[in-house]
């Protein structure tokens, strides 16, 4: 299973953190620090795999964002790369030519998309369309609520 997924910028700023096992807050911060240090130190054309403690670390850079996940030792690193790529594709489909700013300003949506793709550290849906449709439907549900509500559009929605 995947233990965690982190997105961080070239300057080491965290943009998304998903943890699939219970870890104390302090240790999460340490892992984030370790990952950013290790990954940012890698030379440009190195391979995308690292060893860290008993985990395999798979990372890939997309424009200004690093996608970094920690896997159990028996996982297939090459398919993990495909998994990261699939997530980027999903983001891209949703935001349209996704860039780091989209993730910064709509981080909660990035999480929602992730939660339709992975669950408990495993892939729950292998079809891009099915994931996208689920997100769209959820968004529509949200908008319907706002439409139907008595609240001013400005108020309710984050």
């Amino acid at each position: 299973m995947m233990r965690f997924l982190l997105l961080f910028s070239r300057q080491g700023k965290l943009r998304l953190q998903k943890w699939f096992t219970p870890i104390p807050e302090r240790e999460k911060k340490k892992i984030v620090r370790d990952m950013t240090t290790m990954v940012l130190a890698r030379k440009p054309r190195s391979c995308n795999f690292l060893h860290w403690k008993d985990l395999k670390i798979v990372y890939k850079r997309y424009a200004s964002l690093y996608f970094c996940c920690g896997l159990d030792a028996e996982e297939n690193e090459l398919i993990a790369l495909e998994m990261l790529h699939r997530y980027v594709e999903l983001l891209d489909k949703y935001f349209g030519n996704v860039c780091e700013l989209d993730i910064i300003f709509n981080f909660e949506k990035a999480y929602f998309i992730l939660d339709e793709f992975l669950l408990g550290g495993e892939i729950q849906e292998t079809s891009k369309q099915v994931v996208s449709r689920a997100i769209e439907a959820s968004d529509m549900l949200q908008e319907a609520e706002i439409d139907n509500s008595d609240y001013d559009l400005e108020l309710g929605w984050p």
Binding site: R15, C47, F49, L81, E116, G120
Partner: protein, 814 residues
């Protein structure tokens, strides 16, 4: 109270902060606003506020005061609230928090919600971070959802079940019935998650595993699904670069691996499909190689036929030539796993693997190094070592230590000749000397002493290396030690294998002195150097260290000084060559015994020191360094043999004795002087001079007709002029000797005192003895002589005998 600012607004504002302090200020201000908003229990803005809190949490600021608010959001009826609430719960409310359990009821309700997206949220949250208690409480709901026909929920329920099983393994059984029909689904999401669920069950329970194999006949089912995937035409929904649903393929291959492991039937059932996947998968993109990789792992792990295994290793071999670094890395890792079992097949790719040592990527280099060491054997040792030494020269420092260790190990196992071995080790020391492990120095020294014929060659080479460079500590240590040991060979210029170099003693000393003076030398190195110096000129240098700060150096210096001053006659023996050391296992800590002056930490009991018993006649000097406080060595003088006294006084014992034919003195027996304890075990302080002649050997005084009388001696204290003799009479005949009386007479210059015997029966067949004590006073220290008279009854007949006892050991009367 104005409306709290919107999320995106906050994000924009915070990003304008130019310093950390400015950001902190903004955050604190907003947190305060949020807190008061929470206090007001305002439903409207709760969602917005929690969302902002989550953003600030991601920046690293504390957000625990939002935990309860998340719970309230989850409990809300609005989907918007629930979405943010569950997200907040997943970020802030893991099982370590007190309020975690409060979620249970909400989740339970939402699992039964009419809207599937709400159910989805609940399943997702439970499946990501539900605690064991929560899982226990809600497992039933999950199981229900596992049976629903709604594939959107079914796939989530399957992964939720995986999480429940991970947290509470005992609950595995309850999911079994619902799992059965999962594989008949067409929906890929459900298929994928079902395979994950089955995998989890198989990994946790061997019973389940065999149940799946035998009862459910899982293998043929999976094979069929996989086959459909491969054979089916293009499916836009699941296609990745021309491959249909690679994620599902990989998961199925992984489950097949577990099912086929150590099971012949299952392995056979999957042989064909594995071969098919291995040969037909498109390899131009990463995704195809990912599937091939999983296939190879499966083939190697199950009981596949040899043809298939060779196919797998060849795939790995092709991977090694791939331009993609990731593929090469993965290949090296897999080969490392299989090198033990399929050694020969992997050997075929040795040259490619060795080429990877030159790769630019650090991870690949490391894997290649590990694999190269695994492939070294007796046949390829020379070639491989060349490559590995070249690698050692040029690699990053992070590799050097491991590489050096690997080289030593390999050299030890497969060295084709001693000279090659020594050359190899020297090469390592010169190129990577500062990275070698501490025990490599003693190891090398041991190796050198063992290769006696190489001493001259070794010491020459080491000397030359030392001339070039004294910065590498291990090399310097070994060199100084060798020069100390074999310096004479060096100076004499003999060497068969290399051209002899003319080295004078002075030159050697120059080098060694240079070492001592060099700031680069650690105290240990200097210690080694001190040992090496053997000529008079050294005294000056050594005495400097007599007041060194380092205790060990000081001690050695003082001892050497003492050695030079007083004990000339002992020096040759002291400075003798070290004997050949026994080899200890290369893995264990090497413990060396050095007997000519240094000792290093303890010798294991099982190892018998090769040098212990020197005949006591030789000057046997052991500087017991770490033993008692005495620096003066234990001295054992040899016992001079006393000539027989040719002209002695007439012994007028009973008239007809003559002295001229004095018996030859008994040969000087070897004095079994107590040896100083070897090394460190319980070093008791040794007496300065051992007691000379502490023990006088016994003698046979009379031996006739089956009666044997032995004399044993003691020195009486306090008067050394009195010899106390104990007689032991034994009887080898079958009949007792009764009424046994022993009488003795000595020359006039002596005085004799006979004490009572223990009995007067000497039992037959050595079953006992009579003892009697004689005290002889010998003030003039003359040679002791005695006449004895024996009377006894044997087999009814009286027996009487006279005898002379002349063979007294000299110690008894000196």
């Amino acid at each position: 109270m104005p409306a709290p600012i919107r999320l995106r607004e906050l994000i924009r504002t915070i990003r304008t902060a130019r310093t950390q302090a400015e950001e902190r200020e903004m955050i604190q201000k907003e947190c305060a606003a949020i807190r008061s908003s929470f206090r007001e229990e305002d439903n409207t803005y709760r969602c917005r506020n929690v969302a902002k809190l989550l953003y600030m949490h991601m920046l690293g600021y504390p957000a625990h005061f939002g935990q309860l608010e998340c719970l309230k959001l989850i409990a809300s009826q609005k989907f918007t609230d629930k979405r943010i609430g569950y997200l907040g719960a997943m970020l802030l409310l893991d099982e370590r928090q007190d309020v975690h359990l409060l979620m249970t009821n909400c989740i339970k309700n939402d699992l039964n919600h009419s809207t599937q997206y709400v159910q989805g949220l609940a399943l997702c949250t439970l499946g990501c971070m539900g605690s064991s208690e929560m899982c226990r409480d809600l497992a039933g709901e999950v199981e229900k959802l596992l049976k629903t026909s709604n594939s959107y929920l079914r796939k989530k329920a399957a992964l939720c079940a995986v999480h429940v099983i991970r947290k509470v393994p005992e609950l595995m059984e309850m999911f079994l019935p619902a799992t059965k029909n999962l594989l008949s689904e067409k929906n890929h999401g459900v298929l994928h998650t079902s395979v994950v669920l089955l995998t989890e069950m198989c990994e946790r329970s061997p019973d389940m595993l065999s149940h799946f194999r035998k009862v459910w006949l899982l293998v043929p089912q999976l094979v069929r699904i996989l086959k459909n995937l491969i054979m089916s035409g293009y499916s836009p929904e699941h296609d990745v670069s021309g491959i249909s649903d690679p994620f599902l393929q990989v998961r199925i291959l992984r489950l097949l691996r577990i099912l086929g492991r150590s099971d012949d039937d299952s392995s056979e059932a999957m042989n064909d499909i594995l071969a098919q996947v291995a040969t037909n998968t498109e390899t131009s993109k990463n995704v195809g190689n990912a599937i091939l990789y999983e296939t190879v792992l499966t083939i190697m792990d199950i009981k596949s036929e040899s043809g298939l295994r060779v196919l797998a290793i060849n795939i790995l071999g092709r991977f090694l030539l791939n331009n993609d670094k990731n593929i090469r890395y993965v290949a090296l890792t897999s080969l490392l796993k299989t090198v033990q079992t399929d050694h020969n097949a992997v050997q075929r790719h040795r040259s490619t693997i060795v080429d990877c040592l030159k790769d630019l990527d650090v991870s690949i280099k490391r894997r290649a190094m590990e694999l190269s060491f695994a492939l070294v054997n007796g046949n390829n040792i020379r070639g491989m070592m060349k490559e590995l030494l070249y690698f050692l020269d040029s690699c990053d420092p992070e590799f050097k230590a491991d590489c050096a260790s690997g080289v030593f190990l390999a050299a030890e196992k497969y060295a084709p000749s001693k000279r090659w071995h020594i050359d190899t080790i020297m090469r390592v020391l010169t190129t990577a000397g500062s990275y070698v492990r501490d025990d490599s120095v003693p190891n090398l020294i041991q190796l050198i002493t063992n290769s006696v014929e190489m001493h001259a060659y070794t010491v020459q080479r080491l000397y030359k290396a030392l001339l070039d460079d004294i910065s590498q500590q291990p090399l310097v240590q070994v060199s100084s030690w060798c020069i100390g040991e074999y310096g004479d060979l060096l100076v004499s210029g003999q060497c068969e294998e290399e051209e002899p170099i003319q080295v004078t003693e002075d030159e050697v000393l120059d080098v060694l002195e240079g070492l001592l003076l060099s700031n680069l030398s650690t105290p240990v190195t200097r210690g080694y150097s001190l040992l090496g110096e053997i000529l008079n000129r050294i005294k000056k240098v050594v005495s400097v260290y007599g007041s060194s700060i380092d205790v060990e150096l000081q001690q050695r210096a003082v001892e050497y000084n003492a050695l030079f001053k007083k004990y000339d006659h002992m020096r040759p023996a002291l400075l003798e060559r070290m004997p050949i050391m026994e080899k200890t296992a290369s893995n264990g800590p090497t413990e060396i015994v050095q007997t000519n002056g240094e000792t290093e930490p303890s010798v294991p009991d099982t190892k018998h020191p090769p040098l212990v018993t020197q005949p006591a006649n030789q000057a046997n000097d052991l500087l017991d360094l770490l033993g008692g406080n005495d620096v003066v060595p234990v001295i054992q003088t040899t016992l001079p043999t006393k000539p027989a006294s040719a002209g002695g006084e007439l012994l007028d014992l009973l008239g007809d004795l003559s002295l001229s034919g004095g018996p030859a003195p008994a040969p000087v027996p070897s004095v079994p002087v107590s040896q100083p304890p070897f090394l460190l075990d319980g070093l008791s302080s040794q007496p300065l001079f051992t007691d000379i002649a502490a023990v006088i050997p016994p003698m046979t005084a009379y031996n006739k007709n089956g009666l044997k009388i032995e004399f044993t001696f003691e020195r009486a204290n306090p008067n050394p002029n009195i010899a106390v003799i104990t007689i032991h009479a034994t009887n080898t005949t079958e009949a007792d000797m009764t009424e046994f009386v022993f009488q003795a007479a000595v020359p006039k210059t002596f005085q004799l005192q006979l004490l009572s015997p223990s009995s007067n029966i000497v039992p037959a067949l050595n079953q006992g003895s009579i003892t009697q004590i004689i005290r002889v006073l010998n003030p003039q220290k003359q040679q002791l002589r005695m006449r004895v008279k024996l009377t006894y009854t044997h087999k009814g007949l009286p027996v009487q005998d006279l005898a002379e006892v002349n063979n007294f050991p000299p110690q008894s009367w000196q």
